[in-house]
Symmetry: C2
Subunit: 373 residues, 2 copies
Amino acid sequence: MSARSRRPFTEDQIIRLLASRFATADALIEMGIGDDAAVFRSAGVRQRWVVTTDMLVENVDFRRDWVRADEIGHKSLAANLSDLAAMGALPRFCTVALALPPGIEKNWVMSFFRGLAALGRRHDTAVVGGDLSASPSGILICITALGAATKRGILYRSGGMPGDLLCVTGTLGKAAAGLKLLFAGTRRSRKRWESLALAALRTPEPRCAAGIWLARSGLVRCMMDLSDGLSADVPRLCRASGTGAEIYAWCLPVFRECAERGWDPYSLALHGGEDFELLFAVRPQKLEVLKQRYPRGLPPLTVVGALTERGGVRIVKTPGSRPEPLPLEGFDHFRHPGDCATRQARLPIPAHRGAARRIRHLAADTFGRIPAV
Amino acid sequence: MSARSRRPFTEDQIIRLLASRFATADALIEMGIGDDAAVFRSAGVRQRWVVTTDMLVENVDFRRDWVRADEIGHKSLAANLSDLAAMGALPRFCTVALALPPGIEKNWVMSFFRGLAALGRRHDTAVVGGDLSASPSGILICITALGAATKRGILYRSGGMPGDLLCVTGTLGKAAAGLKLLFAGTRRSRKRWESLALAALRTPEPRCAAGIWLARSGLVRCMMDLSDGLSADVPRLCRASGTGAEIYAWCLPVFRECAERGWDPYSLALHGGEDFELLFAVRPQKLEVLKQRYPRGLPPLTVVGALTERGGVRIVKTPGSRPEPLPLEGFDHFRHPGDCATRQARLPIPAHRGAARRIRHLAADTFGRIPAV
């Protein structure tokens, strides 16, 4: 850090910096950063605006010593774009509210916005406004993203029917493996699988193109993104659709490489959060045509289960075996209200350790490295 | 608090509670709470959506021992609606992100949303989504509000011209007086002016109707809301409009009653934040017709100065006296980055104490009452 970057800076200075950095010629934006609010117009009456918001809290959702500022910027926006992708909406605008603790460097803030803007540019998402505030401790980030969609091109969590096949994009458990690497002290690695896992956690790629394609295909009944893990998110889709589900363990697109460290890929795939892949349901009769039409270059699709008339979510370990209840072990901020660890601290004990296991809380000494909580 | 309200609650439980509480039959909302994102449609192509976001941080923007949960809910939304009012936009929807520290009561959360929803109902503002998260310490609130306007019915900060008269709605310094009462240990009062001041701070009334009327009147050139005090906000309007300004001290609609406690009403009017009144510029030739047409029942309008060709903001103490530079003493979260007090802690020393004064930082012992920072 240069001496220059350590100078105190004012709210207005940052706002002007952001206003110049995010100046846009987008014809839909009539006012971006710099006024009381942002204004954007509708391109036509058939258009829908989709809005989503997501808050990230230091030492709950990220640790500054584990993730760089630009990666946090990327990830904050990625979480929102993933929500838009899950609706089939094209990302368009976002607002960014940031509360900063004392002593934070201007460079940190600019680096945060650089990472955010880089992802935004790749997805045509303009920052149209925001708020800056002081925080007594820890960085707070709240992003609201707006996406455009046509009425018919939007997919909800509801709409799934018994018999539909449950599918996911990409690989599951990769971000959870990255998190376990960080906990094991590996912040950088030359091993390809380890660096992929760390990148999946730090700079997840929202599935915007896949989400929009799936929503517009007319072949998918309902969709959501996997932010808290299959075991937490499948029940949400089921609740919205009024169904139950069975998950076929042997079908899961797990991240096998992590077994090298003695970790159970299936447990990470089921219970690890922050994969930001898409979960959706499709009629069995439509699966073939979906696979045929699905564009190359988009993340692979895998059938991982089926919706059922019977409520509850069960797991089928091998073809033909009896379905067993799926333990709920995804991330829930409030399941342990007395506990205020990092989200990272809530990775469950691997599933093979038996049915009586509970969510593991890391020992207090793990937090020795957390700065100034 | 009953034993029942102390039970742990899950994120999904709260979301379902909110979804049922904020269920709406609004034809423009196609999906509110409960999915990955909210969807609302445009009623027509001439319509504009206005979006604003505001973050409130415990012990920076509010203290839980000074303001009730429902009042915090009210105020969080009010700050956003005030921004929409300043654009002339009709509030329509909002998203609410909330991060909660360990041990927070479910009752607190529900009371927060009750206060927020009550204000929202009065202004036809639906909560269409949000996010819930854990916080290591202190409550964090981030609201994004969306308003509707027509292209011609929007007022920006820019557009003011030299010679335009600067006007404000309502009384200035009332919220600052309320804050000084809290600092003085007065949390409740039977005196009318004291209870008005406390209410102005705790449950400010956003000037939505006035803002929309002024924007649609075609008589106003530019507008913003007064959230950080005249001395901080007038320079912002000037910067956007490319002008300077003179403030006529003797014209200010001050809150005279506070002199009873020995406080300078002019200092509070100039430098006190959170009034959430409107500041706007009007051509001198249009002032009379504006006053004639301005509806009864809306907060009174007062001319408080004029825009000037010469840059900078000056204050004119008595008619005909020489303009003096206006010290910048509104609230800025980052003016003292090493300091992490409450916003409340930044009230300036009264203006009459001379030109060399600096923003006062309260002694550390003032924070003895702050819970768990």
